[in-house]
């Protein structure tokens, strides 16, 4: 992502500080994460302190300051999924990919995250990869699910 592209996004939002979250979301969608130089650039262009931009960028879980994988795996650890063995599912995914919760695989294919209830408890234990839902998960289904990508 280059600065021209950032300029375009900033212009689309009228260079307004009040649209900071939307601006950051657009950047995140395109670049897959929020690079430091770009955050500094946004702060400079909007005329607000970098510390203020970082306050937003670290507040929301939707933003990431680290590069993320092409696919984001969200494992639900909410109550309903938890009692049905979500922890085992998470451990299996961790073992299969060789990464911990919050990390990204070395080839930038997957990023593993946990969430607390996705609002689809009936499907639990639930894993969501990008926008695909994998309900009634168990440890044996994990390798097959990962092979889809």
């Amino acid at each position: 992502m280059d600065f021209d592209r950032v300029d375009k996004i900033l212009k689309a939002y009228g260079m307004k500080e009040t649209h900071l979250v939307s601006i950051l979301l657009d950047i995140q969608t395109e670049a897959n994460f929020l690079p430091r130089e770009i955050l500094s650039y946004v702060a400079k262009k909007l005329g607000i302190p970098l510390s203020q931009v970082c306050r937003f960028a670290t507040f929301y879980k939707a933003f990431s300051l680290k590069p993320r994988g092409r696919h984001v795996i969200k494992t639900c650890l909410g109550t309903a999924c938890h009692v049905r063995g979500a922890v085992k599912v998470l451990q299996t995914i961790e073992r299969e990919l060789g990464i911990r919760d919050g990390d990204t695989t070395r080839d930038f294919k997957f990023t593993l995250e946990t969430v607390n209830c996705l609002g689809a408890c009936a499907l639990g234990p639930l894993v969501v990869i990008d926008n695909d839902y994998y309900g009634q998960m168990n440890t044996t289904k994990v390798p097959k699910m990962l092979k889809d990508y």
């Binding site: 430091r36 955050l39 500094s40 302190p49 970098l50 510390s51 203020q52 931009v53 970082c54 306050r55 670290t58 507040f59 300051l65």
Partner: protein, 236 residues
């Protein structure tokens, strides 16, 4: 000029004042922690709580952020206010018992125990440093980051900031950076030494002899009142 009802008395106040400013003007003391005259109000510590409204509709509001309005009824010293204030102090004590400012508040308002888990954090998230840096030091180097239990004060990306001028303003204003004095029991959660200690010079002189003009607050020459009472009672 508008009129508010302050502790039952109708008083005139300037429009645009906060309740805190009005109380100050009329000489009513309200404890504050995250408020500083030179900085914008933040309303984070909830120490300056007062009760607004009357009867069962009365509610607690932070006086440092609440603007006065015509006919507003304010009570500054109700049971509810005092109990909540003590609770806030107790909570802050459990987060940062090493802060002198908070220990002093505890002694002043009679908080003598902490019922919460002691966390020994270095920050109570009052935001004074952030505002100091931004509003007075023109640094804009630090800010809040993350959220929930992970919330913290830091520089962007947690690295040395190029905007920080090393002025020390943030440390100067931080209530948690002022370490508590080392009384006889420096490791306890609540010190309360100011309540229980007696300067020794008073045994020999009629007046305090402390050349630090600090009435034995450093705790080096003082002994515990309780000890004295104990010996007195055992002798009799």
């Amino acid at each position: 000029m508008i009129t508010i009802r302050l502790n039952g008395a109708d008083v005139k106040v300037e429009e645009g004042w906060t309740i805190l400013e009005a109380c100050k003007f009329y000489g009513i003391a309200i404890p504050t922690l995250c408020y500083n005259e030179g900085l914008s109000p933040y309303g984070g510590c909830r120490l300056c709580l007062v009760e607004i409204g009357e009867g069962h509709r009365a509610k607690l509001a932070s006086s440092c952020t609440y603007p006065v309005e015509e006919g507003l009824a304010v009570h500054t010293d109700t049971k509810r206010v005092i109990e909540t204030r003590k609770m806030m102090i107790e909570l802050m004590l459990s987060i940062s018992p090493n802060s002198k400012v908070i220990q002093d508040l505890a002694s002043k308002f009679g908080v003598t125990k902490v019922r919460f888990k002691i966390r020994n954090e270095e920050c109570i998230l009052c935001g004074l440093c952030v505002r100091m840096c931004r509003e007075q030091m023109d640094g804009k180097a630090i800010g809040f980051q993350k959220r929930g239990y992970k919330r913290k004060i830091s520089t962007p990306f947690d690295i040395r900031s190029e905007e920080c001028r090393l002025c020390g303003g943030c440390i100067y204003i931080c209530p948690a950076c002022q370490l508590r004095c080392q009384g006889p029991e420096a490791d306890t959660a609540v010190c309360n030494a100011c309540l229980t200690m007696d300067p020794t010079c008073l045994d020999h002189y009629d007046e305090l002899q402390c050349w630090m003009y600090d009435a034995g607050r450093c705790g080096t020459c003082v002994r515990e009142k309780i000890e004295k009472e104990k010996t007195v009672s055992s002798k009799s």
